[in-house]
Symmetry: C3
Amino acid sequence: MTLTQTLFEALDAVPLVDPHSHINPRWATSDTIADLLGYHYYTELAHSAGMPRSRIEEPDITPHEKVARLFEYLHHINHSVQWSWFLELSNDLFGFQAESIDTSNWQKLYDLALAKMSQPSWEDEVLRKSNVQRIFLTNDFDDPLDDFDTYRYVPCLRTDDLVFHLALPQTRERLAKATGIQVANLKDLQDAIGSLFAHFVKYQVRACAISLPPWFSPTAIAVDDASAQAAFQRLLASQSVSQSDREIVAYWVFWRLAEFCNDMHLPFDLMIGVNRKVYPEGVFQGQDLYDSRWSMIQYAELLNAFPKVKFPVSVLASVSNQELVDYAWIFPNVIANGHWWYSNTPTFIQHDLRARIDAIPRNKIIGYYSDAYKLEFILPKYKMFKRILANVLAESIVIERRLSESFAIDLGTQILRGNVDSIFFSQE
Amino acid sequence: MTLTQTLFEALDAVPLVDPHSHINPRWATSDTIADLLGYHYYTELAHSAGMPRSRIEEPDITPHEKVARLFEYLHHINHSVQWSWFLELSNDLFGFQAESIDTSNWQKLYDLALAKMSQPSWEDEVLRKSNVQRIFLTNDFDDPLDDFDTYRYVPCLRTDDLVFHLALPQTRERLAKATGIQVANLKDLQDAIGSLFAHFVKYQVRACAISLPPWFSPTAIAVDDASAQAAFQRLLASQSVSQSDREIVAYWVFWRLAEFCNDMHLPFDLMIGVNRKVYPEGVFQGQDLYDSRWSMIQYAELLNAFPKVKFPVSVLASVSNQELVDYAWIFPNVIANGHWWYSNTPTFIQHDLRARIDAIPRNKIIGYYSDAYKLEFILPKYKMFKRILANVLAESIVIERRLSESFAIDLGTQILRGNVDSIFFSQE
Amino acid sequence: MTLTQTLFEALDAVPLVDPHSHINPRWATSDTIADLLGYHYYTELAHSAGMPRSRIEEPDITPHEKVARLFEYLHHINHSVQWSWFLELSNDLFGFQAESIDTSNWQKLYDLALAKMSQPSWEDEVLRKSNVQRIFLTNDFDDPLDDFDTYRYVPCLRTDDLVFHLALPQTRERLAKATGIQVANLKDLQDAIGSLFAHFVKYQVRACAISLPPWFSPTAIAVDDASAQAAFQRLLASQSVSQSDREIVAYWVFWRLAEFCNDMHLPFDLMIGVNRKVYPEGVFQGQDLYDSRWSMIQYAELLNAFPKVKFPVSVLASVSNQELVDYAWIFPNVIANGHWWYSNTPTFIQHDLRARIDAIPRNKIIGYYSDAYKLEFILPKYKMFKRILANVLAESIVIERRLSESFAIDLGTQILRGNVDSIFFSQE
């Protein structure tokens, strides 16, 4: 067994806590492989390869028909890492052993998977095979939280709507319904946000999270700031709100979130860099891209203002990784978190992970999260990461730095699991 | 034979169509090695290493003298990848077998090459040894196109002059001469551009192309836009034209080009990122550099407006590669195209190619183009690329993703050749 | 012995001249390992891992107590490349052989090192073991220079204070004291700077150096420019100086420095990209970070204006490396210099060095400098670099480009040593 294999086997035996996903705890696994192939990674790549959106998103087609249609285009991505996830989960979870999955054999897979997915034990079986104990969710602020097992599915308060979409009446209506507070001014808004935090804390929330656009440069705006109050009034009153007012309100709310995280001892996951709807004609969830011209320095004021809040930071593009490494090297409250979305491919993971392991304190590297929408994807995504982690540890730690195999395994275990425990589950 | 060697041999047997060059079809090969060493890669590097421009560009020196002078400095670059191209072509095309080429032996090479180049069959021989069937050109808009074989040398309409240099009277005179239209307003200009497209289409043009500066952010400006008309009038009238007027006219023309590409079903090659004349005292063609702070998001409006135009995109710097990968992942009309100029070195090709193969649909990766000015360079540049491609396929596809050798060869063949055919030679 | 080992052994035998350090020539080595572990790389990483600054920087604690406290946190960085430097120097300089250094055995190391450091021959011994002949310093403009051996410790005029801190009265007082000139206007200032250069030249200065923030875009401002004069008057008069005035004065002084470098035939080291005090609550020297959004194009005017001044350029982040490579490829006066600070980790060195060796003339690559504050760090830092250099030469030069081992060793020797001689010690 090679060094890398030895390390992989050891890491593969570590029980996982997945610190970020989009799992719906009430419908965590798939009903058919249409739920798997409906993952935006596949629909957007099929569309990118030439498949019209109207064929993919035609209403009222059956799952079976949807899968049949997608396979007309999926051979265009059969080399990609995204496709390798589907191949690997089909093998490991359904026992479907084939060199490729294509128009010639998908029907067999469909039936095999359907049989597996129909069993009541499927959710448990997937988790057991994936070696996963707990999974963080992405909960809307008005999610009830009382209808699932919050030990297995860890609540995480997602706050994009509060920061960016308060200009939409429906957001404010949802907020009023969730908190009982009709928000008429910033004081009300602060109370409403406080009420949400109290609700989430009651249900063992373990993180607050938000995704942020490249232009975001948060700055302190006091609760009683008159111009913020005026901007918020205009936002409540008007149909067409200026970008400037939106930004003022966004920064005001964001700062309040950081304050509540501080008060509640909650880590605040920052997922930085996404521009929404860059390609509005794209498929569902396949419309977002980015502008890589931003800098961690936009967060310097925040990081200085909240030294006790842990900020696990994800960056969208690999060109931001060195800034993340170096801000985590200097700021005690910056933690490098996973490999997000467009950087969740082997070339970038390998490069970014090596740089992190070179220079960040080992208690501040959260190796990975699945970002999965369905439980079945946790297994192949983590396997990909564990192979790369084993490889990086072999090269950087054992060969370059001449430390022992057991040292490398300890380090890898901490990166894969230990830091999730210490960062999200220890209240200081 | 190692895996990488097996893959390389298979890829090396694929007949090529080179989708971008600066070959002059009326003078495609070199007369002496002065034509090869006069390639700006060598003159600019010799100059960078200390050779005065006046020594390189002294008028009326013989080719022999030029070569003699250059070899006083070329030992400073004998380790570089650019020099490896010259070593490899000297070996493969001239049969010059030597560990190095330097002041001690260049005379022998000079004579050997001269004998080869003087043979009437030289052009055919170079193409045969290079395994190249067709080569795209870079044609000025007023190139006659009727005096060469447009099967072997595929016309490509280069449009930099139209977009960026209409303020120069000589550009407008060339346009008038080529089209018979004296451009007095934007309507005339549109007609003239239309006439150019018709001319090129008559001669089987297969692409429109342009190189673009980092600041370029194309936006729709309608044909009858009054402020564009006014800007164009000022540009026609004035000696000193404002940057703002230049930009308005540039965007107006660029949008028309995209419309004609749409109407004519022509791919539009975008080569993004170059600043011209950053070092005006540099040698001929050795004055351009760049500012890597630009984003693909500057092209979002264009990409959304022309969903049916294929945009093969080249980026100048490797830090832009992930944006290119991700825009090609999401936008059906974005194609990743080759490794351009300052990114055409092994370190960047390897990193950029791996990232593309990880995540872009396989029908949207154009592996390489030579960018050559003389046919002799096609062989060593493509060899370099094929070695790297073989290596990336071995690591990413066969080892990491555990797909078969034949799968890797099929994928490599598509990247090297198949996509050139399907993107430039199939009219939808 | 593998190819990489063969190359490493040959390179390791090359006597070094270290072209940039912060060594104090009057106190060049450490008194205890507290001087080594007080290096900001360790204090800032210990702080980042959770150690309060007040514990690290408590006044009047003994060196022994300081080390004891640090070891409560240093296990958090025992995987890092920074820690590997300490492990390696402890082994090679003190003969301390242990798999790890931690709370269980640091006391033994402390005593062993103390005994070594107390010997009068320690400075010579460290230099001999490090194979170092000469070391460049970082001298303040008012450093006397007459109380150390300027052959061994090569003076280098550091100019940050002159460019960025003339608004501080104490800077102007230091300048007056050093030059005898009470600066009342720009003419005085020019005379004072000239006086400093004369002083440094008398003591065999071999370079002028400066570190620069990302926003810096130097431009020519004439000696008799009235608006610069007015800005300088406001700066002399006022307590609160505008950022605009600061920048004008900074550019004015910077341009004068370049002129003096030109007149005195001195290389001008530019270390580009650092923002100071981004984390003001950080430990001493552990507060600086950066914004990677800058471009070499900001220096185009300077590089064009001073073609005879050699500019060894260091960049803070690896995303700037390709720009550096390409500006060094085109501009004769740009030299790629070392791997600075946050880019001085194996992942970035490897990637950046490969790209430089691909494409920059070999006489314009300065491989490395230690940046060390104490002589003991020169050995492990250079060892790390030499291992990477051997590896890159093996892969790029011997395997990829199929050149010989002896070719690779010659190239490596030039990169490691030869170019330091030719760039800093040959007066044209």
